[in-house]
Structures are given as C-alpha cells and as structure tokens.
Amino acid sequence: MRAELGAGLPAWVLRAAIGVVAAGVAWVLAVNGVEWPALALYGALVVAAAAIPASAAVALIIGFPAAAMVVTTDEPSWPGVFALVVLLHLLHVLSAYAAVLPGGSRVHLDALKAPAKRFAVVQLSVLAFAVVVLLLPVGRTDAVVEVVGLVCAVGLVVGAVLLMRRKG
C-alpha cells in the first residue's frame, strides 16, 4: 500500500488525551466518595504521567483508582465501575503509544485504527463478562471453586512468565 504523508496531528494530542481520560477517572472517583486530598495526589500523578508517559506514574494512575474504588466503597457502584473499566484500559493504551513517540512527533489517525478495533473487542469481552457476573446470584463461594480460582491465578502467572521468556 502506498500513502502520501499528510500533516497528521501533533503528538501532544495523545498526552492531552491522557489528561482528559484521567480527568474522567477523577470525576468518577469524586462521585464515588473519594476525598479531595486523594484526588489532588491523583492529579499530581496524572501530570507526571502525561509529561513522561514511559514512567511508573502511569501504573500509579491506573492502580490508584482501582484501589480507591475497592477501599472507599462497600457496595460497588456499577456504572462507575463500568466507566473505570473503559477509562483505565484507555489510559494504559494511550500511555503505551505516547511513550514510544518523542516530543514534536506527528500522529496519523490511520495508524490508530487497528489498536482502536482491538480495544473495542477487549472491552466488549470484558463488559460481557461483567454482565454475566452481575446476573450470577450472590452467595458464599464453594471451597472447590476457591481452590480452582487459586490454581487458575497461579497458572496465569506462570503462563505469562513463560510467554515473556519465549518473546524476550
């Protein structure tokens, strides 16, 4: 395929998008009762992550809201949870692409079509799983299921490590 190089968008659009998405996350947290000092700390982390997308601050701005939602609320607010599922994943993807682009780069939107499709597929799968979880009856989990869950968790870790070693 042959293409002519257009002007494209400036790369700071990706970093600005990180800020906008993080603002949405902060709004969800505020609605769910997270106190303003925590939100101020979150804002500082967002600034650091937008400035240096390849830093560990990105991990913090993804992990912090998840922990805050679990800690601050006894009963999950499902709309907020669904919003965070989308927004936190978006933060992860945007930061990954912003991290490989130097300042002053140009982003051509055609390049982001394939990642957008995969993002949609992953989100639909997870939201479908969430709907199934919502429809399941709430009650005590059997010990067998607990053990199977633990084995699955260990298997997940081992599998990921093996895949990493094979690729690395």
Binding site: V70, A96, Y97, H108, R118, T141, L156, A160
Partner: protein, 466 residues
C-alpha cells in the same frame, strides 16, 4: 564484552535493533495479573473487572508473533537537485506482526522532519523534500521504531543513515544587456586576432610561399601590377581573414571571506573576547574561525549565485567558461562549453563553498587563465591581495571584470561605540580598492549592474593606455 559495552548495555537496557518488550508490557502484566488475582483472593469483582482488559490486551500482544527485521529503504533520491520541492519514496518492510511504525520523515518544512506515527500496513510512503538554500544538506534520515500490538513490543529505535542531495546554486535570469553581446576580439565574439578562415577580412598582403591560390585577390593584384608596370606574378596579393575561436571566460571566485551586511557578525569571537573591532586578521574574517557554512545572503552566497548566473549566460552564448577558486586553486574547473559544463560548474561551486575560508592569500596562476580570456573576479574586496591579483591579471593582457559582492548597505555594529567609525573606515578602504582597480584598467561593478557598458569602457581605456 568490554567495560564500555557493558555500560552502554546497562544504560540502553537492551534497546535497539531487535524486538524487545516495553514498560507498558510490564505494566499491563503486573497490573492485570495483580488486580485479577487480588480481586479473586479478596472476592472483589470490581478489581477483577479493572484488571481484565489490561490482562487480555497484554496476553493478546504476547501471543501475536512479532518477527523479522524491519527494513526501510529510500528510493528515487537524486544526487543533485534544484532549490524547491522534490519527491521521493520510502519503502518500508516492517516485518510480521508489526502494527504501527514511528518513522522520521520530512514534513511540511525543511530538514529531516519530525517522527510520524503511521500504520505498519503502509509499504511505500511518498515524501516531499524541500530545500530553500543551495549547498550540501541532509534531506532524509528515516530513523524508525516498529511496534507490535498496543506498543508492548517494539523494534528499535534505529538511527538510519543520512541521505542528502547537493542543491545546485540557482541560475538567475540576467536582465537584458547584462552580458556583452559581442565584446570584439575578447569575449563571446568568435573572431580572434590571429589570421584564420572566417569571412571577416583581416588584411590584404603580398603573396608568400604557402598561401593558398584561392586566397589571391586578383583585382588588387592586377591593380598593383599595373601600377608597377609588370604583369608577372611578383605583385600577387592575398586576402587574409580573421580566425574564429571560442572565447574563454574564467570565473575567479574569492572563497576566503563570507561576510554579511551586519558588521557585528563579521568576527564575533574576537569581539567577545577582546572587544576590539580593528586589527582583525584575515583568518578571523574567514569562515574557518566560525566553523559555519555559507551565510545566506552573505558575500559568498551572492558570489556563488552570480558565478552560476554568469556561467549560464556565457555558456548560452557558446563561450567556454572555467572556474578558479582563489582560496584553493586545486578546486577549479577547466574551461568548457555546453550544458554539461554548466552542471559541472554549479557542482564545483558547491564544492568550493564547502571548503571555503581556509586561505590567507588569493592565488591566480597565469596558467589558469587562457590567453585573451575574460577574467571575472567575484569578491567582496576586503583586502589588498585580491586587488593586486586582479591588476596583475589585467597587466598580463586579460580583460578583467571585478564583480563586487559585498552586501549593501552595510550596517554598523550597534553594540560598540566604534561601530559607525569602523563602518566608515571599511567603506572608505573598500572604495579606495575599487578605484585603484579602475585606474589600472579593471572593469568594476557591483553585482546586478549592466556589464556590457562597463566592459566596453574598460576595453576602450586599455586601448588608449596602450
């Protein structure tokens, strides 16, 4: 692996021209697995849902094969070019599994351009290269980084080889009357002083052994015989014609100086250290002291443009044009004619400008100037040596045209109280040098003034002085 290589490896963390995971992969795995496992252990389904997309996208990236070595090639980039825009094609083979590619390509402005994030499905990218200044330069350096799904695995960044072009000095259309149409016997005129076979009559003389019979002028011979009272062949006369010869033009380029209109920029290192305006040596005025290339709009830029335009004009008339670098005599080009000679001269002008500014004294050897050639000295005339050189060339019998390429008007250095005074001294010295050349029969004119009249006046003055 020596210590330096180990240090480099430690600093770059194994980045470079091979596929390697990014921080985003570690983040996706750690957060994804951590939140899913922790959510399962703590019976917090929200945590599982938060971690699931990260884990899923990371696992997708891990199972997608990303192999092969991305290749980037530049096609259709000529070695030389003209000022303006040109097109080239960058061929890309990103390898299997690549999804996006960050590649440095020229954008809207000049230079090697910014990094562009493009889809890895593109195999050929058409780029527009723009250069607004003549000389050597880098047009393309396709540094690239190829990324797999979600940029969790990348190949690179790879610093590519620089690809450049030589932009030839532009040929400006000279205004009508700038070139002498027929400077008789000297330039562009195809009549030489020696006898030859043209149709233009040179002389009628007595027959000599070796003369061709068809050159005998019977009318003159009979009249001469009648006056002498003899019909014998002793009073035979022949018609002698002028020879037709190619005229030679030598463009003598003074590459020792490159000065602009701002006097303050002429030798700023000296001013910064000593604060002196006077007492600069030629080396301090030269380019080597600054370590820069040709100054846009400066005297060397003007001289090169003038040389290219003059060469084009004379070659169009059918004359033979050569080039002499007064700073580096070995960089000249021998006289020749035709379109290829114009290309050769424009290339050589770039070469001369690249290595400008190292010589203290100008050099123009007699053997570099063909007999009877027009010598065009292109210089800002900032020292007496180049004036002596022009006068010596005139004394050897050549018609010399001194083209003054000193930027005008000059502006004084506003940062020193001696600025205006220095400007006056420089102007006066410059005027004295130009007047001295005029008095020695050298035609002097600033670049852009009509040449023909000045050359004619100089030729007349030389005949009178003889």
């Amino acid at each position: 692996m020596n210590r330096a290589e180990r240090l480099r490896e430690a600093f770059t963390s194994g980045r470079g021209a091979h596929w390697h995971p990014t921080d985003a992969l570690v983040r996706g795995l750690a957060l994804g697995i951590g939140m899913v496992v922790l959510g399962g252990l703590l019976h917090e389904v929200e945590l599982v849902l938060f971690g699931a997309p990260l884990l899923l996208s990371t696992l997708l990236a891990l199972v997608t094969p990303v192999v092969g070595t991305p290749q980037v090639r530049v096609r259709g980039l000529p070695r030389t070019g003209e000022i303006g825009a040109a097109k080239s094609v960058v061929e890309v083979d990103p390898g299997l599994g690549a999804e996006v590619m960050a590649i440095r390509l020229p954008g809207v402005g000049e230079g090697i351009g910014p990094v562009h994030l493009v889809s890895a499905s593109v195999r050929e990218i058409e780029v527009v290269l723009r250069r607004d200044a003549w000389g050597e330069g880098v047009d393309l350096r396709p540094d690239h980084l190829v990324a797999g799904p979600d940029a969790l695995f990348v190949h690179g960044p790879v610093t590519a080889a620089e690809r450049g072009r030589v932009i030839l000095p532009p040929v400006e259309a000279l205004p009508a009357g700038l070139l002498p149409a027929r400077a008789v016997g000297l330039v562009g005129a195809h009549r030489a002083r020696r006898p030859g076979d043209s149709v233009e009559l040179r002389d009628i003389r007595a027959f000599q052994p070796g003369d061709r019979l068809r050159r005998i002028d019977w009318r003159v011979s009979l009249r001469a015989s009648g006056m002498a009272g003899s019909a014998e062949g002793t009073n035979l006369h022949v018609r002698e014609h002028h020879a037709e010869a190619d005229a030679d033009v030598v463009l003598a380029l003074d590459t020792r100086h490159d000065v602009g209109a701002e006097l303050g920029d002429w030798s700023s290192p000296v001013r910064a250290t000593s604060g002196l305006v006077f007492g600069r040596s030629l080396g301090e005025w030269s380019l080597t002291a600054r370590g820069t290339t040709v100054r846009p709009g400066g005297s060397l830029d003007l001289a090169v443009r003038a040389a290219a335009s003059l060469a084009a004009g004379y070659l169009r008339q059918g004359d033979r044009v050569g080039l002499v670098d007064l700073g580096r005599p070995q960089l000249g080009a021998r006289a020749g004619a035709g379109r290829r000679q114009l290309l050769r001269l424009r290339n050589q002008l770039v070469v001369c400008a690249r290595s400008a500014g190292w010589a203290q004294r100008p050099v123009l050897r007699p053997e570099q100037v063909p007999h009877g050639a027009l010598v065009v000295v292109l210089s800002p005339f900032l020292d007496a040596e180049v004036v002596e050189l022009a006068v010596h060339a005139a004394r050897r019998g050549n018609l010399v045209l001194a083209v003054d390429v000193l930027p005008s008007p000059l502006r004084a250095d506003p940062e020193t109280p001696w600025g205006e005074t220095a400007l006056k001294v420089i102007r006066l010295e410059h005027d004295v040098r130009l007047e001295a050349m005029r008095q020695h029969g050298v035609a002097v004119l600033p670049w852009g003034a009509p040449i023909a009249g000045v050359l004619r006046a100089a030729r007349t003055a030389r005949r009178v002085s003889r």
